[in-house]
Each structure stands twice: as structure tokens, then as C-alpha cells.
Subunit: 364 residues, 5 copies
């Protein structure tokens, strides 16, 4: 498993590259989807709702977009590779071409931009693939117009299903409150997913720590760096969100009502908490490398001690044996009757002395 | 003891996880107590007091809440798992549902929020469990209304008993001053506990330092990281309190009177002092790891020296012995009468020469 | 290849020196070109354009500069060594002598300066020479006057060709919008190049990481430092650009129209993204050194283990052999018929015992 | 000496503890002296002075305080354990109880607090005990009222004697200028002491560096950490003083006249200089640990080389000797007349070859 | 050479000490020159100039100061030990005594102070002594009055000669512009010298890097720290200059005219560039220590490998030789005719096997 882990996942994804060479010289605002095509067809989920009713349909072609029946509408677009469709959406609601460019540019960090008629927010949905220990990021954008929310995601993953279920509940705040509250619930859902990822990273950390302490191997260094890299990437993707929520909170944004403000304050708190947790995790992961190194140097010490004990005991004994293996004509000890047994006794004393010495040095 | 220490405490609590997966999609403001149920029943301690009188009762059911008899009231609620009771408290005093959510969300960091009619503050009570060297944190919230303070804690630990005793004193400022001064005394008590924990951590550091210097073992690395982690966690829990006290001090908070301000300035000073001490401790604990590593490398050096001295002395001697153990027909030295003793003399000279060499190298 | 790499490129370019000694005492504003002469002759490319027409010519002598035929003009000057020509350009458009000094001073960091009639911006064009792994920086300056843009570059590299091609397109915004939008497209092109360099550095990082993990040699330390140095240099050259774009965005700059602002915001986002990526790369490269060191210490451990296993197994065996090689007259074992084979058996048992011991220690 | 140094001083004082457990629950503003009683009796030195006269007396009881005879008065109180006396001082000049609490709380960091009628400043007097290498800190507080300065110190150390001598000089500015200038001279004296301590730490650093380079022992690690700890403590005590002087400088403080401002600016400069020097010292001390480690690893290398050279030379020789010590019946070389001498020659060639190899490797 | 280098230069100058003990208790503003007397006599160079004429004289006694003949005057004072002369200068132009104290206090960091009638600036002139690799700093102060500049330097080094030569040029801006422009040229000259020192440090870095890579010795650690220390000292001396130029630029300084502003902006840019270069150098020097350590550990590895290869090959061979050197009565192999040669064959096979094993391990 480890072989597989390192040869592909760890290395090839170690840095998020831009591969933007072919883009140089294009007019700014050109719609170029920078990712792979992840789903076959783009789907638009149209949800019209107000305090009384919810009406939901799926369409595949933008021209089929029905009239807005209720006071609020949520357009959820799954799939970003169909740039023509996105261009039509943009034209229909007079969205700036640079905004559309950011919607399809997967490398764009989270940000907020306020325009005269609408508000544009980019976030990253993060999930953790337990199987191969990979952090997965999906590019999510929101456009808030008056009583209309448009959301974009790369795949057809069901992140927003809980929102749809809650919309069914006729007593939910979402049905009654204005569109900016709805935007808040979408953002809140994104941040909720961050906590799951943090938990997953914490699990991975604990498993790794247990392994490093019980039986450190050199693959652990790679795993530690892999984990550290994920924490760094996570932090890089989440940190700009603090500014986003902060701007939402500031009270200067037109489309945000005062009633939603107390909820946004809560969202801001959660964002801060996520960032704090990531900082702490980073410190802990760095500490884990120290643990690994000290375990390794401990083992090295063990090896050295065994070598030294064996050598130190047997080297003088070997010398003595060699001494009486010499062929001098006149070596009186050789002729003593108990010479051999006396020597064995001397050797035993040397061994005992050595063992006492090592005990004294606390090597045994 | 060490085995126990690492197998459970250190590892399983190494990161505070959120386990919030099941919460995704819940309406914001839903009351979900995120901790274990730590005490059997929730108790409400009602204390009515003014300059003349103090009247204290314990009730178990919120509906039994008696009329407020004196000018100021303190409601102290022990146990956060009974979310229905909390909902009733919230309804009775028109507390926002997000505030109640934070009261029961143990992962919420310290913060302050000002509402039109009340002030909401979250802090963490910290205690140090000497037995297994664990930092324990308890989630404490305060709501200050006009002449009414509500405080929430997870367990029935008697942290606030000194306050209750001081309330008995008819000349105490608490009796005379307004409710915001009472809030200050509660916060001051929380911060006072931080100093105890800092002292306990300092004791642990000193004990550890003594051990690392006298007899470093590989378990010390774990203990150093454990201590470092506690200091980091402590700092993470206390740092937001600086902002809390700073906002209280700013003079912009409605419910805080000018008289209380000089006391809050004192509280702010103490908070800064706690944070400074933690920063210093963190630097010292990091230095301890260096000490450990240098001790270990010192030991390694010792081992190497013994090995080298033994080898270097006996290897040439062994060679000489082997030389005269050869079976060549014509080896003139073997037939000299004093050949054997001459050789012993040469060996002695070699040993003396080696010892002088090691002396010169300062290895002996 | 490595020899070459280190002996010249890495070392001699490790720090960008100023060699400004000879300049001391010169009047500020003196035109001294601080680089080598990189191309033979200076060329001026004159492009007059408006929504309807584009007219492009190349001239070699500034006095040949034709009348401006269309509403907007772009003067692109390739080659900075001809200070007389630059002086004439400066005089013709009343450019401050300090501005001209900065145009030819290759050591000047990116900056923006606003004058009454014009705006002066310095940037660095960065390219990555794949062949010898060198980051190349070219000094690029822009002067924006009313309906006139002057750009300066050191060589005749075709960086701005895409702009020229886009100018051909009669529907492009560049033709219609004012000169400040044209300045934006030039800056955008510079930033687009940064993404290519980031990708190249990421490739280099991945290649290096693969090598360090599979077969670390001491040359990798040099390569890691070389890469780190390039990231640091890159960051040093790009960081000031953040302030440049920020000032452009601020709305306080006269020559920048509101329409261009939304594009500049996009440019600012890209700049931030470049800087963030560089920060992440720096952290990753530092982590790579840890990986290298742990690989090396792993190898050291391997070597030590082999030595220890061999020594520990054979040292006692050798002792036994030496023991029965002694020449004592009375050594009963020597006369046993099966003495020799018994000893061989004992030796075999010792070897088996040792191997079991090493298995237990997990060294085998 | 070293033994003593580590067993007590270094360890027991390694962290400044608060031992505040017993204080929990006390009313804020309670006067509890947190240090040991350092002198037997508290002394009050009363100095009345104006441009013409100086009148100085010592009293032991505050009720004996004479009438203020000249226009300015300086009350200098030596000894903080007599809290009753301090309470009387506080009552006499209407000092807030929290101020008095800070006067006796030795753990309080330097700070400034402005009240309606007076200014309260805490500083730390630092001295360096050369004998046992300890930094000593004394808690010094100043209260500036209109034409009255009260100063408090723990012991009867003669820090302020130079001030008293300068007061004798009838032409000194202190006599003529207002009380705030007098406060400045007191603060200036405190800062002057910091420079002495910095010099002492620099001396200690140099002595340590010399020792580490000439003969590093493991005690040096402790000494380096001890020194680092002192620099950290020093910085922690001095850093808040920057804010104190900054606030004094700001011009917003009532009791500070414009004439004193230029002097305070000088004081601020000195404070900055002290902090800068401490930052530099901290960097240097950290570098010293690197030096130590590289010296130690250098020694390890030396040891390894000797071992390797001895082993590598004698192991093959020993093998050859063993070879011709074998008892095979048919070993032709043994019967050659010059077999033994030929073998000695071969051995000599091996030794020479080895030495050349080590020369080549630069180990000899 | 190295011996000399470390015993004196590196150690004794490692920290800039204050030796201010004797100063404690002195009245602020006392003129105490804190350096050694570096030149025999103090010289005053008086230069009167305007657009038409330049008139330059040297005087030794301040009372000989001639009438100011032209509209602008530059007084350049070489030598700071003659405090009486400085006092006379101060009195003549009503300079504050604290300013004079700073002029002679060599430990004062660069700063700017604005007074009603004059502007006071301290800078450090830095030069690099190639011979013994020392950074030399000279204390330079400037006082700008209306049409009068006074400059002070410690020695009679000819730093300002280029200025004097440029004054000769009748068309130079210095002759025409006001005195603040003249101050700018002086400051610009100081900053120009910084670039020379940066180049010298870069040269030293490159030389050191080359040595560390080709043949690292333990003296290199010292040299690396020495270089790092110089960069730190340099940065410490230059960093305050950023604030100085920033204040000059701010437009709030009375004596600075708007015309000079564009030049000061240039000066500010250069200062920033110097500080940025120093930051980069610091990072590079720190990286050099890593290079050194990895080189050393590489060498250690080499040594270990040779030891291991020799031991591992000869230990089993030695055992076999010992085995057949035993004196058992019954050892059948000894009597085989080709026993000896067979054993030699076996030994050869073992050697080949070992070599293949080491090849496999990539140790050979």
C-alpha cells in the first residue's frame, strides 16, 4: 500500500500547479475551464420557494429555464466545463465576464467581490478521502442577486442535499427569511464540512503518532510531510475565507440585511475556529517529526550500545586467547598444569568486571 | 505508569476533535450539547442580593424559579446536557438561539457578543489534574442583563464557591456595586485559576528538566511534547480572552459602567500576564527538547569513546599475538629465550602510548 | 552536469550584487546602465491605434519618431544600454531624471510612482531557463501618460507579442478602452508569466523530491538550497508588486479610470495568489531538507546495523576459535574425540541465538 | 561550582511562579505582598526641595510625616511588606486600592496608568549578580501627583543615591524643573541600569563562547540555556516599558509638561535600544547552541576517524597472521625459508597503502 | 590566520557593549564621548557656497570661524572627542544639549528629531575592512538649519570628498538647490556606501560557500556565525534609517521643501532595498550552516562505510582462520591435502559475495 501511496498520490499532487502557459495572451475574462471534465453533463437545479411553497426542477439546457414562480429562486449549477452554458447564465443576469472567469478558474482562492447589483463569493468545499488519505477540494461559487441565489460546483456531489431537505420544512427560517439568509446557510454548510475534515486529519495524526512511537520506519517521514502538506493546503484554502466573512460582517455590503448579521458573526467565529485548529495541528505535526527523529536516534543508540558491549567484552578476551596461542619456545604459563583453567577464571573476572562497568554506565 | 500515560491520555486527547459530522445540515441555533453528560442532574442556584440581604436557594426545575426578591439576581446553572431547561431559560429572558447554541457548544472559543439587552461572554475554566498530568477545561458562559447575571458551567465543580462566600460579607463591594461589577468578579475568578495552572505547568517543567538532565530516557520526548501541547492548548484557550477583556474595556459596551472600568483594566493586565507567561513557557519547553537531544548525543559520544578506546588498545595487541601464533618454520624471534617477555614489554609500551594519546585527546 | 552546475551557476549568481562602488559620488539622476549590454541595437516599436485602426512601425533612431496618427500610442523600447536615446525620450515627454535612472537601474525593485502628468511602474519579467535550472529576471518599466504608454525592456525577447496580436483584433477591448486599460493588459501579461515560472519550480521540486526519496546524494542539499534560493529571489521580486497593484486599486491614482478598476482587482488577486504559492513552496522546500536528512540518517542506521550484526555474531565465535588455538599443555577439551564438532555445534547455537536476538530487536 | 549552579539556581528559578492559589477568592484590591520580606523595617525618605533648598529626612512611621516645606516633595519608601503603612500612604493621597495592590504585587509587569489626579508607573530595576550569574529584578513603582513623587522599592538598595547627590547640586535642572522632570530622572536611572546588565550578559556570553569553542562540555548546554533564559526574562520585563514611555511621550498625559517631552523622547530611544540589543543577544545566544553542537559533532567525527583508521589498518593484518596460524598439514608457504619475512614485508606494504588511502581521504 | 581571527576579532567584538556604568547618575545631556580618541585633533571644514561661488577653508579652533560669505554654509567637523568644541558649536547655534549628547554617543542608533529651528539626523557610515573581514561603523550626525548644514564624524576619513568635488561643478544641483537638497546628497552618499558593504559581504559569502562545499572544517562554523553576526549588526544599524527617511518623506518636516521630496523618495527606495538584501543574505547565511552540517554528516557516513566494509569483509575470514588454528587433536579438515587451498577458495567466495552485497546496498 505504501509503495502505491508514494509513487503517485504524494508526489504528483504535491503542488497545485497552474498549467496556465497556454492561457498567456488571452483576453482577460475569457472563459477557460482549467480542470478536467469531471461529470458528463451539466445540470441546473432550479428551486423556487417562499414561505408557503417549494418548487424544484432539474433542467439540462439553460434555455429551458422556467419563469420564476415564487418570490425566491435558487439556481444550482453542477458542472463547470460547459462554458457556453455559463456564458448564457452570465448574460441572462448581467454578470461581469471576470466573475465568470473566476467561476471556472479552479485555482482562484476564496474571495468576495461586491458589484452594484450582485455579490460574488468563491469558497472551496473540502472533503477527505479516507481510502487514500487525500484532501479533495471542490471549487464552489455563489452569486447573490436580489431574491436570487446562483451556486456553481464542479461535480454532482450531493453536498447541498441537507439544504434541500431543510427547504422542505415549511417552518424553517430559510423559507421565511430573505435570500441573504439563504446564502448564509450555504456558506455555513461549507464551513461545517471543514470540521469533518479537521476531525479526519486529527484521526490520521493520531494513527501516525501511534505508529511513530511504536515502530518508526522511514516511510513515516513521508507520511508526516504528507499530513503537514495537507494541513498547509487546507489552511491556504480556508484563510481567505476569514476575510470574506469579515467583509460580509462589516455592514457595508448592500445585499446583506441586519437580521442576517448575527448569523454571519457565528459563521465568522467558526471560520476563526477552523483556522486556529489548523495552526495547532501544524504545530503538532511539526512536533511529530521531532518525535520521529528522537525515536530513530534512540534506536541508533541501542544499536551502538549492543555493538560496544559485545566488542568491549570480547576484544580483551580474544587478545588473551591470542596471547597463549603464540608459539614462543619459552612461555612458562603454558606448562602450568592449571594454566588453562586459571586463564578461564581470569576471563570470567574480566566479563564480570565489564558487566559491572556497563551497569554503572546504565547501558544494561 | 508511563505505559498507561502514553497509551491513553497522551494520544487519545492529543487533538480536540469536533465530531460534528452528524450536525451537518442542522438549522443554525439548534441546541446540541457536544460533550458527554458529566453530572446526573442540572441544578440552578438562585442568589438574590442587594447591599442589605443575600438570599440563596437551589432548584432543579426552571418552572420553580421564584420571584426576584432583591435588586440583583445571580442564576448559576450547573450542567449543560439538559437542553430543554436551557431553552426555557433562553425563552424566559429572550436570549438569541445562537447564544444558547454557543452555551452548549464546548468547542466554542472564548468570545464576547453584545446584544441590545444583554452581554454574552464565553470563557474556559482551566484546572490541572496533578495525578495524570492533564489540563482540564470547562466551558463557562456568562450572560449579563440589567441587574441579572446568568452563568453556565458543565459540571457541579465548586469553582464559584469563593464568590458565594464573599457575597455573605455585608461590606463587600459586590453587594453594593451594580451587576457588571459582579460579572467582573466572576471573570477575575476564572483568570485567577489560570495562574494556578501556570504554576502547575511550571512545576511539571522543573521536574521534567531535572529528570532530563540527570537521566534522559526516550519517554521524556513524549513528556516534553505533552507539556508543549498543554501550553499550546492553554494559550489557544486564553488568547481570545484578551480580545474579550479589551472590548469590555473599550467603553463602548452599554452594560458596563465607568466605575467597573478600572477593575477591568486590572483584569486585562492579568490576562496579558497569563499570555506572556505562556509564551515564555513555550520557549522554555522548546529549549528543553534541545537539552534532551544534547544529553542524548552526549551519551552517544560516551559510548563511542569507550568502544574506540577498547578497540584501539586491543587491536594492535591482538595483531601482535596473532603474529607470533603463526606456524612458519623459520621465525627467529620464537626461539629467543626472552622473546615472550620482550613481547609483553612491547605490548605494555603500546598500552601506555595509547593511554597517553587518549589523555592528549582529552578522551580519558 | 552537476559539476558544471555548482561551479558556476549556483555560486556566482547566489547573491545579486550591486557593484555600485564606481557610482559613489555621482549626481542622483545620472543615467548609468548597470547591466551588460544584451542586444546590439536599441529598437523602438511605435504602435498607434484606436478602435478603428492599428499602425505599427519599428524605428532605430528616436528623432525618426513619426507624428502620432491615432488617438492612442504605445512606444515599446527594447534595449536599455543606449542612455542617450533614453535621455531623449525623457526630454521629449518631460520625464524626471530619477525615473530614467530607475528605468536603467536593473537592481531597482518593482515600484510605482505617481507624478503630476504620468505614472511610473517598474516590474520584473521572470522566465525559467529549463536547461540549467536558472530563474531569469528582466527589468521592465512602464510609463503611462495621457493616451500614451511607454514600455522599456532589456532585451528584444518577444514577451509582448501576444499583446500585439490581440491589438490586431478589431473587437478587442484594448482598442476601445483608454490607455490605462492597455497598461493593465501589459501588467497582466507580466503576472501571467509568473504562473509559468511557479509551475516550472513545482516541476523541479517534484523531480528533486523523487530523487531525494529514491537515492539521496550530497548534491541534493545543494539543489535544495538552489531551489530555495530561487523561491526566495522570486518572492523578493514579486512581493513589491502587491503594493504596486494595491496603489493602482486604491482609486487615488489620477490616470486610472473606474472602468479599469474591476480588472485591476483581478490583477491584485493574481498577485496575491502568486505570493501565496511562493510561501507554500518555501515551506515545502524546507520540508524537503528534512526529508533528505532523515533519508541520510536512515542510511547511516542501515550501515550501523550491518556492522553491528556482523561484529556481534563473529566476535564471540572468533573468541572461541582463539581459545582452542591456545598452546597450553593441559587443555582437556582438545583431546576429546568430538571436541571439534561439539564446538562447531556450540558456535551454530550462538549464531542462531544471535539471529533470534536481532529478530527480536527488529534489526533483521 | 557547576554542580551548585545547576542543582539550585538554574532549576528552582527557571520560571517565575505565581503561587497565587491562596489568593483565589480575595476581593480585588486586597493588599497582599507576594514576595519574601527582604528588609527588617520599612523606611520612608522624605525629600523636600525647590530651586533654593533641599531638605531630607528619614522616618519610620508614616504618622511622623512632616509638613511639606518646599514646593516639591519626593517620598521614597523602601520595603513593601508593611502593607498597613502602604494603606496609610494610599489613604493620605487618595490612591486607588488596585494601584496599591500592584505596588506590592511583584509579578505585575511594567505598566502605566493615568488617573484623574495622578500617574502610576511600574518598572523593574534589574541588576546582575556576577557571583552566581543571576539576574535580579526589583519591583519599583512611581506615583506622580502634582508636585509630589512617591517611589516604592522592595529593599533598601541604594539605586537612587545618584539622584539624591544630584539634588544637592543647586544648579541642577531637577531643582528648577517641575515634578514630571524629576519622574523622568528616576525612570532614566532605571534604564541606565539596564545597559549595565546588558554589558554583564555580553561578558558572560563572550566567556561562554570562548569556552564552548576551546573545550565544549555538556554543562555548556545548560549555561547557554541559562543565559538565553535570562535574556528572555530581561526582554519580558523591559518590553512593556516601551509602551510606558510611548504613552508618556504621546502628549495626552496631563501631568507631563511639554518641556519634559524632549527628555522623554531620549528615554524612549534608550528603551528601544535596550530592546534591540536584547533581540540581537537572543539571536547570538541561539547561534551559540549551533556552535556547541557543531563542536560536539566535530569531536564525534574525530573519535570515529581514529577508530576507523586503527580498525582498517589492523583488521587485514590480523587476518593474515591468523591465516598462517592455521594448523593445516599441507601449507607450502610455512616451509619457505623467508616466508615469515616476506609476510612481514607484505604487511608493511598494506600499512603504507592504507596510510596513503587515508591521506587521500584527508583523514590524516 | 584563523587562530588570530578567532582569538581577538570575532570574540572581543561579538557584542557592542555600552560600558555605561560610569555614566549612571550623570545629568542627561552631559557630553561624554563614549569611544576611543581616534584622531589627534578636531578639524572643522567650512564650505560656503552658492550658485556662483564655492569657498572652502579648514580651521582648528571654533572661535576662528569666519563670517558666512555665501548664501549656504556647510560645517563639517571631524573628530568627536573634543567635547568643549562641540559645546561651543552647540551654543553658537542654540542646539539642545540632548542633541549634542547623541552626537558624541556612539551607541545611539540612527534617528531623526525635529526641533523648531533645526532638524537632527543620526546615521552610521559603514565600511568593510577586507583584510580582517570586519565591518566598521562610524557615527555620523547631521544638523540642518536654515541654509546651514553641520555634519559630524568620528575620524578624518574622506567619505565626503566626492561631495566636495561635486560642489566644484558650477552646474551641479547642489549649488543651486536649497540646503535640504544638500542634506539629501549627504544621506545618499551614506546609503551608497551600504551597497558596497553588501557587495563585500556577498563576496565573503560566496568564498565561504565554495570552501564549505569543497572542504568543510570546523572553523567554517565560526566564520558562518561571524558573517551572520555582521549581517545582523548591519541590519540593526540600517533598519532605523527606514523610519528616518520615511519621516523626511512624510511632508510634515518644516525644513524639507517639496522639490527635494522626489529625491528623498529615491533615498527611501534605496534604504528599503538595502534592508531587503540584508534579509535575503540572512536567510542564505542560515542555509549555509545547513550545507555545512550536511557536508559533515556526509563525511561521517563515508567514514562509517569504510569501517563497516573492512570489518564486514575481514571478520568472517578472520574467524575461519582462527577456526583452523585450533589445536584439537581430531580435526579431519586439517589433514586433507587441499584443505588449505580449499579454504582460501572459500574465503575468496566470501569476499566476492560481500562485495556484491555492498554493490547492492550502493555502498561501493
Amino acid at each position: 500500500m505504501k509503495k502505491k501511496l508514494f509513487s503517485k498520490n504524494l508526489l504528483s499532487k504535491s503542488m497545485n500547479k497552474y498549467r496556465s502557459a497556454r492561457k498567456i495572451g488571452l483576453t482577460p475574462g475569457s472563459l477557460v475551464y482549467t480542470g478536467e471534465k469531471k461529470i458528463a453533463t451539466t445540470t441546473i437545479i432550479v428551486t423556487d420557494f417562499n414561505a408557503e411553497k417549494v418548487d424544484r426542477r432539474e433542467i439540462a439546457v439553460f434555455t429551458e429555464l422556467p419563469e420564476q414562480r415564487e418570490s425566491k429562486r435558487w439556481l444550482h449549477i453542477q458542472g463547470l466545463h460547459d462554458t457556453e452554458l455559463l456564458q448564457m447564465v452570465g448574460d441572462a443576469f448581467s454578470i461581469h465576464s471576470l466573475v465568470l472567469e473566476d467561476v471556472v478558474n479552479l485555482h482562484q482562492s476564496p474571495k468576495i467581490e461586491e458589484f452594484e447589483d450582485y455579490l460574488f463569493i468563491i469558497t472551496k468545499m473540502l472533503t477527505y478521502d479516507e481510502e487514500n488519505g487525500e484532501l479533495k477540494s471542490e471549487h464552489i461559487s455563489f452569486i447573490l442577486l436580489d431574491n436570487l441565489i446562483i451556486s456553481f460546483q464542479e461535480t454532482d456531489a450531493a453536498y447541498f442535499d441537507p439544504i434541500m431537505r431543510r427547504l422542505e420544512n415549511p417552518k424553517g427560517r430559510m423559507r421565511k427569511y430573505s435570500a441573504d439568509y439563504f446564502l448564509y446557510t450555504l456558506l455555513d454548510l461549507v464551513v461545517d464540512h471543514y470540521f469533518i475534515v479537521i476531525d479526519a486529519l486529527a484521526d490520521q495524526f493520531e494513527r501516525l503518532e501511534r505508529n511513530v512511537i511504536s515502530n518508526p520506519t522511514r516511510y513515516h517521514v513521508e507520511e508526516i510531510h504528507h499530513l503537514k502538506r495537507q494541513v498547509i493546503t487546507f489552511r491556504k484554502l480556508v484563510r481567505p475565507l476569514r476575510d470574506v466573512t469579515n467583509i460580509l460582517l462589516s455592514g457595508d455590503v448592500n445585499l446583506i440585511s441586519d437580521d442576517t448579521n448575527v448569523f454571519l458573526r457565528d459563521l465568522y467565529d467558526h471560520t476563526i475556529q477552523v483556522i486556529d485548529s489548523l495552526e495547532t495541528q501544524r504545530e503538532l505535526v511539526s512536533g511529530l517529526l521531532d518525535t520521529y527523529l528522537s525515536q530513530v536516534s534512540h534506536r541508533m543508540n541501542e544499536v551502538m550500545k549492543v555493538l560496544t558491549i559485545m566488542s568491549t567484552i570480547f576484544i580483551p578476551l580474544g587478545f588473551l586467547a591470542g596471547l597463549y596461542g603464540m608459539n614462543f619456545v619459552y612461555m612458562p604459563e603454558l606448562n602450568y598444569k592449571y594454566g588453562y583453567f586459571s586463564l578461564l577464571g581470569v576471563m570470567l573476572l574480566i566479563v564480570i568486571g565489564m558487566i559491572l562497568f556497563f551497569r554503572h554506565k546504565k547501558w544494561l
